[in-house]
């Protein structure tokens, strides 16, 4: 017997379309997610991210196109897909009347893990997700960040190899967001494939191997974070100086023309990391000029959309 080592894509989608009534939400989507990687679908509110995730997770049927999730068709082989995936939706999918431990036990039972294995896995997740104190409390009493962690822990009880995270950090405070990122990184280190959606360029940049930018139901850009960022002119430093002389000296030595004589500011392209900051300041030191003030502008979703569509990221929620 021979084993062939082929990296089968965890998700592959071609020509996917979906409309609600006359409203086209997904309009010919093609994408491939390689096993063991993180794929980020980046887009503003109403872009169609949740619709995409619901179709891949067997909750919604597409109108057209071909889809394989974990090697199966989500409509005809729904149970095979369901057995392979875990879904953490945009809104907490927890039983708020039950405690944290009871919620996890419920998942263990529904994954038919058996008593001892179920208990072992639940205990491990409670520790790993820092939920020991909350374990006996009803989920309704936890903070948003904690509920999100319970939600993800429930998804992981069944040990899925492919997980969908729909806006996992929207509405979280910065600390909970960083904790969530850490958890995603650990999952990837274990070989789990992650398909996540987000409205934050920074989040996609931090986590993803590949990013696809979704706008009005179409993928307008796709690539590694570096490939995308190279095409976004948004990242820069703004340096302000005390007098026009210093401004001119700095502009000359930094070789930039984008200066504002009235505001005494200079705009220097930069991706905002410490190394490039140091380099700029060292260059200025060399000619004995120091800026009065410095601000860092990192590219955000608006810059992405401006770069790829010529429009700012527009939210497209129907008025109800």
């Amino acid at each position: 017997m021979s084993t062939t080592v082929t990296t089968r894509p965890a998700v592959s989608v071609a020509g996917l379309r979906k409309s609600f009534g006359t409203k086209t939400v997904l309009d010919g989507i093609d994408l491939t997610v390689t096993e063991g990687t993180v794929f980020a679908l980046l887009g503003p509110n109403g872009a169609g991210k949740t619709t995409m995730v619901r179709i891949l997770a067997t909750l919604l049927e597409a109108d057209g196109g071909s889809i394989r999730v974990a090697g199966h068709d989500p409509v005809r082989e729904a149970d095979a897909v369901r057995a392979a995936i875990g879904l953490t939706g945009q809104f907490a999918a927890v039983d708020k009347l039950l405690t944290v431990r009871e919620n996890l036990r419920l998942m263990a039972d529904l994954n038919r893990l058996g008593r001892t294995e179920g208990r072992r896995r639940v205990d491990r997740l409670i520790q790993r997700f820092d939920l020991i104190e909350s374990a006996p409390k009803p989920v309704s009493q936890l903070s948003g960040g904690q509920q999100r962690r319970v939600d993800l822990a429930m998804t992981l009880v069944g040990n899925p190899r492919l997980i969908f995270l729909d806006e996992p950090t929207t509405g979280l405070d910065p600390r909970s967001r960083v904790e969530m990122w850490q958890i995603v990184r650990e999952l990837v280190a274990e070989g789990v494939t992650v398909f996540l959606t987000t409205q934050y360029l920074e989040e996609a940049d931090q986590l993803a191997d590949r990013i696809a930018v979704l706008d009005h139901g179409r993928i307008v850009a796709e690539g590694t974070p570096d490939e995308l960022k190279r095409q976004i002119p948004g990242g820069h430093l703004v340096l302000r100086f005390a007098d026009p002389g210093a401004l001119r000296t700095a502009a000359a030595v930094l070789n930039v023309t984008n200066r504002d004589e009235n505001a005494l500011t200079l705009q220097v392209p930069s991706d905002g990391d410490i190394a490039s900051l140091r380099a700029v300041l060292a260059t200025l030191d060399g000619v004995h000029v120091a800026p009065d003030h410095l601000t860092i502008h990192t590219p955000d979703l608006d810059d992405v959309f401006f770069a790829f569509t010529g429009n700012p990221a527009s939210t497209d929620e129907e008025t109800r």
């Binding site: 369901r82 907490a92 009871e102 529904l110 038919r112 429930m154």
Partner: protein, 260 residues
């Protein structure tokens, strides 16, 4: 494991979930007991003397007459709780989680039905206890008691499946708490509280042909030895029909909502 074994395992898991809800929130069960008990006391002590005289007895005769109808009123009130908790599941994210897992599809619904039936029987025992305290004197033999339990089980099963369907089609928890209310009216529009002969023709006809009447007549016959006739067969026919239609309706709507 076979599909059947999976279905049983998953249904048992979902049943346990509902039992946890019951244990965690006993106040709901208390409320479901409270209303029929208040009605029982109200009718017996306020109207009982007068109505009982009309029945050819006194207050005690009316307790006997009223109790089967109150038992049904208890079931009808309790299934409103079922519709609410199903609607809560449907409007919160948890149902999407269940649907994205490889579990037996209907197990969530089965769990709700079994959990509600446990709750209904707790309520029935409590209400029956109060009735016995205030003078209900059934003449049923052990075998007849068993039959009473059977009729109540069949009725609860049918009405909970019906409530599950109502909970699924409701677009909000609010709607789900209102729609089953008409069920609580049905025992009044029949022989539950007073005999139908004094009612206007239209109402009397409705009362005679609506499903609760043969159920009440069967319970009354088993508990008190009044004539049953063909009521038992009609009652069980209604229960079977309602169960089947509601099950099919609930399952179809559950799957449909999954796909939209």
């Amino acid at each position: 494991m076979t599909t059947l074994a999976h279905t049983l395992t998953d249904s048992r898991t979902m049943f346990r979930r509902q039992l946890l809800h019951l244990r965690r929130y006993p106040s709901l069960t208390v409320m479901l007991i409270g209303l029929p008990v208040i009605f029982l006391l109200l009718f017996v002590y306020v109207f009982g003397g007068a109505v009982g005289a009309g029945l050819g007895g006194g207050r005690d005769a009316y307790v006997d007459y009223l109790t089967p109808g109150i038992l049904l009123f208890t079931v009808a009130g309790a299934v409103a709780g079922t519709a609410i908790s199903v609607a809560m599941d449907m409007t919160e994210g948890i149902v999407d989680r269940f649907r994205s897992m490889a579990i037996a599809r209907a197990s969530v619904l089965t769990g709700h039905v079994l959990g509600s039936m446990v709750q209904i029987f707790i309520a029935l025992f409590a209400v029956l206890g109060v009735a016995l305290l205030i003078g209900f004197r059934p003449t049923a033999t052990p075998l007849e008691w068993l039959a009473v339990a059977g009729v109540l089980t069949a009725t609860s099963f049918a009405l909970t499946w019906f409530a599950v369907a109502l909970g699924i089609v409701a677009d909000s928890v609010e709607t789900a708490s209102n729609t089953p209310m008409f069920l609580s009216l049905l025992p009044f529009l029949g022989s539950g509280f007073v005999p139908t002969d004094t009612m206007p023709t239209a109402l009397r006809l409705f009362g005679e042909y609506q499903p609760f009447t043969p159920i009440i007549e069967t319970l009354r016959g088993l508990l008190l030895g009044t004539g049953i006739g063909n009521s038992a067969a009609i009652a069980l026919g209604w229960c079977a029909g309602i169960s089947l239609l509601s099950y099919v309706w609930a399952k179809r709507k559950y799957n449909k909502r999954a796909a939209s």
